[in-house]
């Protein structure tokens, strides 16, 4: 990846709404070049989607949503290992994130639902019922302290002196 591409990504990662003009000025290229760089990163799926970091505790309190972290132990399939089962699980709309992990469990899922019942139902009816799933452990998320590198409810920063030599 080129230096300019890395710079574009760091700008967009910090602020997905930054304009192409501002990207161009920040990395020292023309607007046309900046546009091309962004397009290239979109086309090769380095940039998958532009999204928003939300204080979910606030949102969920109003919209009534719950999130859980689920560990899943799986018996791999002879021919395809974990991939086939992973695809079956990841397609469920309740599943937000899905990772293959080392340690006692094999999969780590972040799952979202309307309420506890919806998630419980997902676990018992959709997840545990898959033939190769051997066991699951569900942890409901109670409070978010940090999301996508952003501290939620961070203390206000102290002010700097306005004029210094």
């Amino acid at each position: 990846m080129t230096k300019h591409e890395q710079e574009v990504l760091s700008l967009l990662k910090n602020n997905a709404r930054i304009s192409v003009e501002d990207i161009a000025d920040s990395i020292g290229v023309t607007t046309a070049t900046a546009k091309k760089l962004v397009k290239k990163l979109e086309n090769d799926h380095t940039i998958i989607r532009y999204t928003t970091v939300i204080n979910e505790d606030k949102m969920n309190a109003e919209c009534g949503k719950v999130k859980a972290l689920i560990e899943v132990r799986v018996r791999p399939e002879k021919s395809r290992g974990f991939t086939g089962i992973a695809k079956r699980i990841a397609r469920h709309p309740n599943v937000i994130d899905h990772y293959l992990i080392s340690g006692q469990y094999d999969f780590l899922l972040i799952v979202e639902g309307k309420n506890l019942e919806e998630i419980s139902r997902f676990v018992s009816e959709k997840l545990a019922s898959i033939e190769n799933v051997q066991s699951t452990a569900t942890h409901f998320i109670m409070k978010t302290y940090k999301e996508k590198s952003v501290l939620i409810d961070a203390d206000d920063e102290l002010e700097r002196l306005a004029i210094q030599p």
Partner: protein
């Protein structure tokens, strides 16, 4: 009863920046481009180490020169990053920021009437500290040479009384990095005329097009004093920790003053510095990259707004000419503050040669920079 204070002190004019500071303090809702420090807080790993050290009861004095472990880390870091070679025990000591380093270096070097050449525009502390140490500050105007000290001009003002030259690269307030060839020419002069070079490299990590430390040049060590510290690179301004590296004859003398006037640098800052050097160079690089992007953005916008601004190769300052407005730098800064509530530092704070310029610090977030530039543009339009 007459109360007389130090005459030398009373000769020193009050800091230009101080006057402006009092005005800014009273203003509300301003965007400040007048700061001289990072907009990051110290990386958490460093802060946490300091907390842990405090919990363990590190509240005592340290050796006058500072914890040996801290000096050893500094020496190792300087070797790796800038190819410098110093002995941690005899050629390195910790100071309360670079400011103390400048002060005690001048006091260790100067006899009454000794001249110290100071390139201008330059940082505010050199002149007064030379004067307080009994020396005579001599200005080297760099404004006609893109703010780079010109060796030819330098040679013209060297006299038998010339004791030292101060270099600050990357420079505050101009952001200029002195090219290697110029440093080499200066080194040749230092050898020929036998004067010290005091090289203030506090912004060394914040360079965007490469960097050579003056102290890394061959054959300069016995006449070179390196001053640096943790404030800018590690976002540790409030910790007050700097260091002096130089020949033993010099360091043993600055240490002699330091042991009476400061005793030692704060112990917590010293432990934090060890952690900073061991595990936080990546954070320095991340911050540097972030300044770089904002530099490009801000310089482009300032030029578009009608303030001729060269692209600085280091630090986090821009230095723009306001000569075409017909205002003095103080008038410009004052009116900009009153009319548009943007605070910048008038150039004249950095010497007579810096009249006609303003310094802005771009270590502030992009939205603020954007808004500030809009306001500056509107201000300049309103002048016509």
């Amino acid at each position: 009863m007459s109360i007389e204070f130090s005459r030398v002190l009373d000769q020193i004019p009050p800091s230009g920046i101080r006057k402006f500071f009092d005005l800014v303090i009273g203003s509300k809702d301003i965007i400040s481009l007048g700061v001289g420090e990072p907009d990051f807080v110290t990386p958490w790993g460093i802060r946490e180490e300091a907390i842990a050290t405090l919990e363990q009861g590190a509240t005592s004095y340290t050796a006058n020169a500072g914890l040996l472990e801290c000096r050893e880390e500094i020496v190792r870091y300087l070797k790796e990053r800038f190819n410098l070679s110093y002995n941690a025990k005899t050629e390195t000591m910790l100071t309360v920021g670079v400011s103390e380093g400048v002060d005690i270096t001048m006091r260790a070097l100067l006899n009454p009437g000794d001249e110290v050449i100071i390139p201008e525009p330059g940082y505010v502390c050199y002149h007064p500290l030379v004067t307080l140490a009994g020396g005579v500050p001599i200005t080297l105007d760099t404004s006609a040479n893109h703010f780079i000290p010109d060796p030819k001009e330098l040679e013209k003002i060297i006299t038998p009384r010339t004791k030292a030259l101060v270099l600050c690269s990357p420079n505050n307030p101009t952001g200029v990095v002195i090219p290697k060839e110029t440093l080499e020419a200066i080194a040749a002069l230092s050898k020929k005329y036998k004067f010290w070079v005091i090289t203030d490299e506090i912004y060394a990590e914040l360079n965007y097009e490469g960097y050579t430390s003056y102290a890394s040049l061959p054959d300069v060590k016995d006449r070179t004093v390196l001053l640096s510290g943790f404030s800018k690179a590690f976002a540790m301004t409030g910790w007050r920790l700097g260091y002096i590296c130089g020949p033993e004859a010099l360091v043993s003398r600055t240490l002699k003053i330091h042991q009476y006037s400061a005793l030692c640098a704060p112990i917590i800052a010293q432990y934090a510095a060890i952690e900073a050097l061991k595990h936080n160079l990546k954070a320095v690089e991340e911050m540097r990259k972030s300044y770089l992007l904002r530099r490009n953005f801000f310089v482009k916008k300032l030029n578009e707004a009608g303030l001729p601004t060269p692209m600085p190769s280091g630090a986090f300052y821009t230095f723009s000419s306001i000569k075409h407005t017909g205002l003095s730098s103080e008038e410009f800064a004052l009116n900009l503050l009153k009319k548009e509530r943007v605070a910048v530092v008038p150039g004249n704070a950095f010497g007579v040669c810096a009249e006609g310029y303003i310094r802005c610090c771009y270590a502030t977030d992009m939205d603020q920079l954007k808004e500030a530039v809009l306001r500056i543009k509107r201000f300049i339009k309103g002048l016509k």
